[in-house]
């Protein structure tokens, strides 16, 4: 292969990926778009968690809690005033920004605990945030709607419905409804999250985090403010979770407490491990794998030989998906610690020389 071709190859790959993502709403029906949206929301959250767990080495189960704060925060800030649940009626974009800011602030509030606790103590302590969060979501009924949850307010930008159908838009004979429009918001959010995370990891902050992960003492000797860098990791990661929460709320139309339980946190950990700890691209791939697998299996359960119908007592799609990603987590740690990202890097290295790595190696 010529050098020129080598240089163009990855670029062509990106162009193709972006084209596919941009054109997808024209071909794919609402069901798959919704599934894709949930995956994109998860990807934004996973990128945040991989900063914390992968780069900073802090195991955390609190991600579901921060997602909930983002989701409910948006619902409160932009919810209709005067309804049964608290709503301030702010413009949606502002509401979303405030929700992300509030999540970051809560991350900061938890960081004194985080920075006092060493390593694994923090992981176990973060379990408590999920359960305390569940308790609050169930009990602050005036804000959260309690057990039944509350509806997500519509997202509009300058009079244009992003999660509605006013004014009507039709592209190539396909009417663009709520799902199609939201798809593009999701793409923008995901792209933004990816770029921010990569810049963070490549910069000073990323280096400091990795140093703290490898040895707190060594980092401190070299002049890194350990406490502050742990706090930074927590705040940044929770803000990503906040954004993911807002996006999930929009994709799912309604926020309910049960969604933000321990299982969600465990799924997030699975995503970033499968993708490769500390890798932005890996987190996105892992998120797509973990969220889409059960949906795909359920959709094709009739055709797939191993999948039983839900309720039959056999191994149904949800259970099979859990087997797959649980086993994937174990295998990745055991034989391929860099996850899918590392696998991709190796493949590329074998196919052609010197393709610049898109992932921050750890």
């Amino acid at each position: 292969m010529s050098d020129r071709l080598n240089r163009l190859m990855p670029k062509a790959g990106w162009v193709a990926a972006v084209i596919v993502l941009l054109a997808l709403p024209l071909y794919v029906d609402g069901f798959w778009l919704s599934a894709g949206l949930v995956a994109m929301a998860a990807a934004v959250g996973a990128v945040g968690l991989t900063l914390l767990v992968g780069a900073a080495g802090q195991l955390s189960f609190a991600h579901a809690f921060f997602l909930a704060v983002g989701a409910y925060g948006y619902a409160c800030f932009s919810g209709e005033p005067g309804a049964a649940t608290l709503g301030l009626g702010l413009p949606p974009a502002l509401g979303a920004a405030l929700a992300i800011a509030v999540t970051g602030a809560l991350g900061l509030a938890f960081s004194p605990v985080a920075s006092r606790l060493r390593g694994i103590y923090l992981g176990v302590a973060s379990l408590s945030l999920v359960f305390v969060g569940q308790h609050l979501l169930h009990n602050l009924t005036g804000v959260t709607g309690g057990f039944n949850g509350r509806d997500t307010p519509m997202f509009t930008l300058a009079g244009f419905d992003v999660t509605g159908s006013e004014p009507p838009v039709t592209v190539a004979g396909v009417p663009f409804g709520a799902t199609e429009r939201l798809w593009y918001l999701g793409l923008v959010a995901l792209a933004g999250a990816g770029v921010i995370a990569r810049n963070l990891l490549r910069g000073r902050t990323g280096r400091a985090l990795r140093m703290v992960r490898d040895s707190e003492v060594a980092a401190a000797v070299l002049g890194v403010d350990v406490r502050r860098s742990k706090a930074t990791a927590f705040v940044v990661s929770s803000m990503f979770a906040g954004a993911a929460g807002v996006l999930s709320a929009l994709a799912l139309d309604r926020v309910v407490p049960d969604y933000f339980g321990l299982l969600l946190s465990v799924e997030f950990l699975a995503m970033i491990v499968i993708g490769g700890l500390g890798s932005v691209g890996g987190a996105v791939t892992g998120a797509a794998f973990v969220t889409l697998l059960p949906i795909v299996l359920a959709r094709y359960s009739g055709v797939l030989p191993l999948v039983a119908d839900a309720g039959s007592g056999g191994v149904d799609a949800a259970v099979l998906a859990r087997f797959c990603y649980g086993a994937a987590v174990v295998l990745v740690i055991l034989i391929q610690p860099d996850g899918l990202a590392g696998l991709g890097r190796r493949l590329r290295a074998r196919l052609g020389p010197a393709v610049p790595s898109l992932q921050e190696s750890t």
């Binding site: 992981g123 491990v273 087997f323 086993a327 987590v329």
Partner: protein, 296 residues
């Protein structure tokens, strides 16, 4: 007042079950520095085997089978996973156990489904009346068994070669290894012991006054985490104290939920975690945990 006494007794009996779970967890942590997130699934597995087999082979044999299965899974996790990853970070090891938990937990939840399984224990719904108080016999059995196991375990740690080796490994694994202590054996025994303790706890979590084993038992088992953190993750006596504290906190919060209404409904579920945060803020390594010091 009689309400308080009953709640305290209830809390202590529940706490003694939590103490067993916590103890198993701490043994693993002390011997191998692995935080075992699959502990809840090991517990559930032991209990499930007892529930599924007692009809055919009788209760005593079923208990033996349950303990053996949980111990075997512990052994397998140690041999197949932990022993291969000895040089990796705590986080990587913890994540491996999360992976195991996802798979094992999904399969057990599927098998139990929406059923409530009978454990086939001889205590049935018998109660014992003393001084105006009524106690379920199965909970008394739980306290007795927990006491015996805890004493036996303390003796194991104190007087056997394995106990000495484990303590040495916990103090400084590298030095212990240089002194000729076989870390692999220490770790293996720890996982087996933890499996046994988990299965016993699983049995008592599912006997009267609980209606039986259901798919959510592993969530209940998670409350051993607050117990170990409160006690200190590397302290065996801390695990016992932590278990009792958490059992009491949970029972009292639920029992006085009407008086504590300003804190919200369903307080029993969240009390263990609230206690955990409070203790951590006060002492970051728990009540009895070793403080790591590093001078810069």
């Amino acid at each position: 007042m009689s309400n308080l006494v009953e709640l305290v007794i209830n809390g202590l009996s529940l706490g003694s079950i939590y103490a067993l779970i916590a103890l198993g967890f701490v043994v693993i942590f002390k011997a191998t520095e692995v935080v075992n997130f699959a502990h809840g699934s090991m517990l559930m597995l032991g209990a499930y085997v007892i529930a599924a087999t007692h009809g055919r082979i009788g209760f005593p044999a079923a208990v033996a089978a349950g303990l053996a299965t949980a111990a075997t899974v512990g052994l397998l996790i140690d041999r197949l996973l932990v022993s291969r990853l000895r040089r990796r970070s705590h986080t990587a090891l913890a994540i491996v156990t999360i992976g195991v938990d996802i798979v094992l937990g999904a399969e057990l939840a599927r098998r139990v489904g929406t059923e409530v399984l009978n454990m086939g224990d001889p205590w049935l719904d018998h109660t014992w009346r003393v001084a105006g108080f009524t106690f379920p016999v199965s909970r008394l059995a739980a306290i007795a068994v927990a006491l015996v196991l805890i004493v036996a375990f303390a003796a194991l740690v104190r007087y056997t070669d394995w106990g000495v080796a484990m303590r040495a490994a916990a103090e400084d694994a590298e030095a212990a290894s240089l002194m000729g202590i076989r870390l692999g054996r220490v770790s293996m025994v720890a996982w087996v012991v933890a499996g046994v303790l988990a299965a016993v706890a699983g049995l008592f979590l599912a006997t009267f006054p609980s209606p039986g084993l259901s798919a959510t038992a592993s969530t209940t088992a998670l409350r051993a985490f607050p117990a170990v953190v409160v006690g200190g993750m590397d302290s065996l006596s801390g695990a016992v104290v932590g278990g009792l504290v958490i059992g009491l906190a949970e029972t009292l919060a639920a029992g006085y939920s009407e008086q504590l209404l300003f804190l919200g409904r369903g307080l029993g579920d969240v009390a263990p975690y609230a206690v955990m945060i409070a203790v951590l803020l006060w002492r970051p390594t728990g009540l009895f945990g070793t403080r790591e010091l590093s001078r810069v």
